[in-house]
Subunit: 462 residues, 2 copies
């Protein structure tokens, strides 16, 4: 599959000079970061933005390992056959109009399937948005070029999305809100040939990928998929679409997927060590937390210290932990001693640790520094849930120091964040650089932290 991710040269069939069209976006996006050869193909142009344009795929010079097809569905099978004859190893078909639209499209897709089977040409798609690799800045997709304005935010999360528009929307939203960084994002569409069982192993082998999230409407080979997941030493998260009757009918018209029985699917996923997600952003949030398994060796305890500036946040943190596997740590006498030094005499520290009285006495910076050191050094504590606020009087957390304190102790530090929009974005971006997961909703923070502590590599699973 390497020729999809790192081709020496890529042909773009259906390239156009009209800047409003996807056929232009594909060329534009490829040119931003990809360092191999780029060959637009369209008989109506001799060049596109100064790049020579070829009348047909047969005229494209070497080296060319891969082609992106972005032409009406009826033209795709013949073009794919030409690609196979030209010695191209794989095509990404980004156009729609196949099985998802009824009988006519279905016959186009069937023709495409036969070409893949007969020639060995690997076919990715159709009806998909291609791939994005932030590590190599390779974007083989008609996604809006505005994605480049914000930079592609690198991170440990890779995604496989059986959808087109959504993968692009996802990325722009998550990257510009400071919510996550990504390694590879693969949009699979109708999966006529290349499917999750082909792509997932590539991602599990990718050193930049620390966790993988998949949005799937069907499992092409459920048994094989579960085997891959069960053997994976990187966390895998799955969001299954079409679990309801209405959703299942919609899945049929979206990517012509048979959604399968939800209980069977959920059971098999759990058995394979897969964490099942319940919503799109929640899947990314879980993946961000689980990317930490490569950094933190979470032991078998899940005793959490909650450090907060708001009693109410502490109470709900405790409420939310119930049933997740996380438990409130009993702070050790040593930690209690260290904490008493910053608290007013009338206020005993506890867990949740309401730091407000200490912040008022010592200033937030000192209070937070002392408190984080105390709980991180505590042998009764396995992880820290820190409530933070930015944009007001108490936005004085030294993030670098906090991160270092957690790193030295080898204990996961998660943040729940409230605050002014601008400062919140800055905080989230800085925290991401320090490898500290940050969430805007408290339940999501607890749920994500619980996923990290619950996850086990295959050899440790029961």
């Amino acid at each position: 599959m390497e020729f999809f991710f790192r081709p020496r040269g890529v042909a773009i069939v259906g390239a156009t000079a009209n800047r409003e069209r996807g056929g232009y976006h594909i060329v534009y996006n490829a040119r931003q970061g990809f360092t191999g050869r780029i060959y637009p193909v369209n008989p109506r142009y001799r060049e596109i933005d100064g790049l020579p344009c070829f009348p047909s795929i047969m005229d494209v010079p070497d080296p060319v390992d891969m082609a992106i097809l972005f032409v009406p569905a009826p033209a795709v099978p013949d073009l794919a056959a030409q690609c196979a004859r030209r010695g191209i190893r794989g095509v990404i078909v980004e156009s729609g109009g196949f099985s998802e639209v009824g009988p006519e499209g279905q016959s186009c897709q069937e023709a495409l399937r036969r070409i893949a089977a007969d020639t060995g040409l690997r076919v990715w798609g159709p009806n998909c948005m291609g791939l994005i690799d932030t590590a190599t800045k390779t974007v083989f997709s008609f996604v809006s070029p505005s994605i480049w304005e914000d930079g592609l935010v690198r991170g440990g999360v890779s995604l496989v999305v059986q959808s087109g528009m959504l993968s692009g929307g996802f990325l722009m939203d998550a990257m510009t809100h400071g919510d996550a960084g990504f390694s590879k994002v693969c949009s699979l569409g109708n999966k006529v040939d290349v499917n999750e069982c082909d792509i997932l192993p590539c991602l599990l082998d990718d050193p930049d990928t620390k966790s993988v999230g998949l949005y799937l409407e069907s499992f092409v080979d459920g048994r094989r998929f579960m085997e891959i997941c069960a053997a994976s030493d990187k966390p895998v998260v799955v969001l299954k679409g079409g679990k309801s009757a209405g959703g299942s009918r919609a899945a049929m018209s979206h990517t012509a997927s048979l959604a399968g029985n939800q209980w069977v699917v959920s059971g098999a996923l759990a058995q394979a060590g897969v964490i099942e997600a319940t919503d799109f952003k929640q899947m990314i949030d879980l993946c961000t937390a689980l990317a930490g398994t490569s950094r933190w060796k979470a032991g078998h305890g899940a005793r959490i210290a909650v450090v907060t500036y708001t009693g109410a946040g502490g109470i709900l943190s405790a409420d939310f932990m119930e049933g997740t596997g996380l438990i409130l740590a009993n702070l050790s006498p040593g930690a209690m001693e260290a904490l008493k030094a910053i608290y007013p005499p009338w206020m005993p520290p506890g867990n949740p640790l309401d730091l407000w009285p200490a912040m008022e006495r010592q200033g937030p910076l000192k209070a937070l520094s002392v408190a984080l050191k105390a709980v991180c050094a505590d042998p009764n504590v396995d992880g820290v849930l820190l409530h933070t606020f930015v944009g007001g009087v108490i936005s004085y957390l030294d993030l670098a120091e906090a991160s270092e304190t957690a790193r030295v102790a080898g204990k996961p530090l998660f943040c729940w964040l409230l605050g002014r929009n601008k400062e919140a974005q800055e905080f989230k971006e800085a925290a991401r650089r320090h490898g500290i997961p940050v969430y805007g909703e408290l339940y999501r923070t607890v749920e994500s932290m619980a996923a990290l502590f619950r996850w086990r590599p295959p050899q440790e699973r029961r």
Copy 2:
């Protein structure tokens, strides 16, 4: 209770000129919008920022209906007694150090309780953050003055929060992220005298309040509270803290609250027509949706048209509706005819309505306009769930037109939004002005829309 919200004059005991301290913030915040008289009280100053400062509460001239006390707990009971003698009708005690910190604080709180009982002085707090009224721009709170930089965003949601820091954090977060607008926000703290049964009726009478959310760690008079809720023709949402064993223990040390049995509480709330929330922001999201009950007369049907640019979003919308009471509408022949005119011939429209093929043919602006008119005019449709994306090629929704289309049809329009941060903020703010609820998470969108359709005024409850 009017003297708390609209006093003719307010004394601020514990005012200070030190700009880093809460005692300064209270004075600063009061001066920004409150139009009555403001009297700082502190024997150490003759003036604060040009405002005459009085040595004691007895020296404060008329008119003075209310006092804010922000001094150490042991000094509070005597000061409250002085206030009663001075003819002041209510005090907001914003300092901490009472029941939440152990026996000593408990005796201060008990003394305060006796003064309230003996003199008739109403006591709000202690250990609270006071109140914010965005309609009158009255802020009686030590909340960070940075709250003014972003403007107080008005809206139909009022909050009652048994917590201090959180109410301020909430507000700044929700207002600067464009998530919600507020009418009144009341932070109640330890509830020595004034409690939810005093405040809730004020909010239900407030013409600016369309829905009320309460974060409570205890019910002071559960029976009376449920009666108020059961009779309310405005939606009430409650988030109960301390439902777990750990959370209940933390609630005791936060506001000295006995949290009660969670099952009994949940049952009573449901019977009183209260919607129970599960997290802080989710409570505000539900309130924002429910504020629409004053605008939309949701009938007894809940047949929803899902208009999307992403098949995957449509599928999960259908999945999420299951069990919420919302159902996928069967579009009428008339709507189908109107939609076919913008779709390619190979693609039949349906529900969820994947608009992408029509957007590609007609442009997003026209496709969305036609689609929204068609589903809003459809007698088989009771509400519209619209998926929107901003910051890329398809950010071409005419929000004013969409809002007008929904308004004329009298059908609730809810948006799920993905997109670039900057454009997303702008969209959310514009949508708020049009009264259209917008959410960043799909499940939250469905859940909030379901709450609006499920809610019934008292006379229509079974």
